[in-house]
């Protein structure tokens, strides 16, 4: 099975040959891959080097925590890759962005109004949680839409707060 795997801005062609062998851009590696105690903790020995990693699925990339550094890694098989190429790039910049509460908390303020033009990085909602005031910012330029919460309101994790179009 062949995959196109992207880490940061770097692309690797990874082929899973069998249980014990993987090739990366044509370089062959002997691998020994085990999950530890039923958790998303993985032990990988590749050509003798021992690595331990905590791997979780993220929104559009795997979150690989390796020796304390976080690597977002996109894994696509060839079919997916072709589909995406056909659809054209720049996916994230179009469509509506839905701001969801990253954790349960109390809305302290919503310093924007519906219809307001916002810049990338501008604060959309201030959410208090764990005794801290957290500023939730816009990931891009756009127009605020559908504000669903008010200051003083408690929100659950992943609750929709507003969107930016």
């Amino acid at each position: 099975m062949k995959y196109i795997t992207t880490v940061d801005d770097k692309q690797f062609l990874v082929e899973i040959i069998d249980e014990k062998h993987v090739s990366v851009d044509g370089r062959m590696y002997e691998v020994d891959f085990e999950s530890v105690s039923g958790q998303p903790v993985y032990s990988l020995i590749v050509n003798g080097r021992s690595h331990e990693s905590y791997i979780q699925p993220g929104d559009d990339a795997w979150q690989v925590l390796l020796r304390g550094r976080l690597y977002p890694v996109k894994v696509e098989d060839e079919r997916e890759k072709r589909l995406r190429a056909a659809a054209g790039g720049g996916v994230a910049e179009t469509g509506e962005f839905h701001l969801k509460a990253p954790m349960p908390g109390l809305v302290v303020a919503v310093p924007v109004a519906e219809g307001e033009h916002v810049k990338k990085g501008q604060v959309l909602v201030i959410l208090e949680s764990m005794k801290m005031q957290n500023e939730l910012k816009s990931p891009r330029d756009g127009v605020v839409n559908r504000i669903r919460v008010r200051a003083g309101e408690s929100v659950a994790q992943k609750q929709a707060l507003l969107s930016v179009q």
Binding site: V22, V46, S53, W62, R69
Partner: protein, 502 residues
């Protein structure tokens, strides 16, 4: 000796205090909110009583209920830990009235040092240098403050008079931005302390935050246990502390130490407390405030002095003399503490909640972990995000850094995001290694992307790992489909069986 101590706190500090009591043969009473029924302090204490719902105001801040539980359970003393009721003079006074020993200073000392404006005035009288700022004032209006600000000069800090932990603190660069910042500082102070009062202080640039641990008994003895270097902060929250400070030599330590003792004596201080100083580039130091309680970072002092500060607090509260004179206090080696917070350093330090599913503590030589969590414990959004303190000791500062590096690498927490990668990046920072940092370092000159070379090295490994996991998942979902197919045929088989027996 006290027979029974109630711990009016939660988390790692409640566990820390239970440990000290147990080692002294004292029984312990835990109190807990509904969110904390399975918390470690409840599991470890001899007795445990429910306070109320999760929010602090309905549980850990309910002084009335806590006193009632103390009476009911027959506790002789209450240890408040830090935060919550620790710096509330009315609570200390209520304990006194209820004939329950408060393991901390007298209400008068808490009151004098708790109001930052009063504290400044008091120590100025005792000849202690302070940072220029608003003097001898309590309830200043925004107009008052806006008027005084230009005289102090910018940049300056707005600080909550009831403050602590950087809450209600704002940095002001110009008069224009000040009204908005005053509003948000007051709002945060009101929400954190129930008191929206603020005052102003000149911002000392390039400053280090150095604090001295004080112990004072009721017989008039007061000593210091040396300094802690606490300059590594983010949004005025300490992240990492060390002892001794890489900046101090013995002469300056002695000089600052005796000013610290003098500051404590200015309010007839009894028990453990901390004098915070700013140290500027020219090695001038200014009194900032006194924390009239046990500090989060007390373990670094314990590691270099061998003195158990909590046990000494209990001894002092019993009216006994200190176990140590100033000349008995010796400093040995170097200690560093990293605060492990449930925060994502890759996402603007956003707090992270959830269940800790897997956890592996670093152990071995020179490593101490103070924590209130364990695998299976749920991190809720109700309390502060600090889930553990990782403390190491080394013969030298360099050895302590290397040991901290290996301990951070060993520490595994699965289920919530933590700031461990932040501390790892810090340990690799050349400026940190050289001890060249001030209170602005984290926010202004530190980046999580620092270690680019490290990164490159492991990209290929990350690629292999993620691909193997993705591949495994694909295979597994293929199997599910197959199993579902079998299930379907089972149903078919039922149908057939039904038909056969019709």
């Amino acid at each position: 000796m006290f027979k029974k101590v109630l711990i009016a706190n939660r988390g790692e500090i409640a566990v820390r205090i239970i440990r000290a009591c147990r080692e002294l043969g004292i029984e312990t009473v835990a109190v807990y909110s509904e969110a904390d029924r399975r918390a470690l302090h409840v599991r470890y204490a001899d007795e445990a009583y429910l306070l109320g719902p999760a929010p602090s105001r309905e549980s850990y801040l309910r002084a009335d209920k806590i006193l009632e539980i103390a009476r009911k359970s027959g506790a002789d003393a209450i240890h408040p830990g830090y935060g919550f009721l620790a710096e509330r003079d009315d609570f200390a006074a209520a304990c006194e009235e209820g004939r329950i020993a408060f393991i901390g200073p007298k209400p008068s000392a808490i009151a004098a040092m708790g109001d930052k404006a009063v504290a400044r005035a008091t120590v100025i009288k005792a000849g202690v240098p302070v940072v220029p700022g608003t003097e001898d004032v309590g309830n200043m209006t925004n107009d008052d403050l806006l008027g005084i600000a230009p005289k102090i000069g910018f940049p300056l800090l707005i600080k909550a008079t009831a403050g602590g932990g950087g809450k209600g603190m704002r940095e002001v660069r110009s008069l224009e931005e000040m009204p908005t910042l005053l509003e948000s500082a007051r709002r945060e102070a009101e929400s954190a302390f129930g008191d929206g009062n603020v005052y102003l202080e000149k911002l000392v640039e390039g400053a280090r935050h150095i604090e001295f641990q004080i112990l004072a008994d009721s017989q008039g003895n007061a000593i210091h246990l040396g300094e802690r270097e606490c300059s590594l902060q983010r949004r005025h929250q300490k992240l990492l502390e060390e002892a001794p400070s890489p900046e101090l030599d013995e002469e300056l330590r002695n000089r600052m130490g005796s000013v610290a003792v003098k500051s404590a004596q200015a309010v007839n201080y009894v028990n453990a407390g901390t004098i915070e100083f700013l140290l500027d580039k020219d090695r001038n130091f200014y009194f900032l405030e006194m924390n009239t309680r046990l500090q989060v970072e007390h373990p670094v002092t314990e590691m270099v002095t061998g003195i158990d500060i909590v046990k000494e607090q209990i001894r002092i509260a019993r009216g006994r003399a200190l176990s140590y004179k100033q000349e008995d206090v010796h400093f040995n080696g170097h200690a560093i503490e990293c605060r492990i917070n449930a925060e994502d350093p890759y996402n603007n330090f956003m707090p992270s909640t959830g269940r800790i599913t897997h956890s592996l503590l670093p152990t071995g030589p020179g490593v101490r972990v103070d924590t209130g969590v364990y695998p299976g414990f749920e991190i809720t959004p109700f309390y502060d995000p600090m889930i553990a303190k990782l403390i190491v000791w080394g013969e030298t500062r360099a050895q302590a850094i290397l040991r901290m590096r290996r301990a951070l690498e060993e520490y595994r927490i699965v289920g919530v995001r933590t700031n461990i990668p932040f501390h790892q990046t810090m340990m690799d920072s050349h400026r940190f290694m050289a001890g060249q940092y001030d209170t602005r370092f984290v926010e202004e000159r530190f980046s999580m992307d620092d270690a680019e070379e490290h990164r490159r090295k492991n990209e290929e490994v990350a690629a292999i790992l993620a691909t193997l996991v993705a591949h495994q998942q694909t295979e597994r979902s293929a199997q599910f489909v197959q199993r579902n197919e079998r299930d379907t045929s089972n149903w078919k088989w039922v149908g057939r069986w039904e038909r056969m027996h019709r």
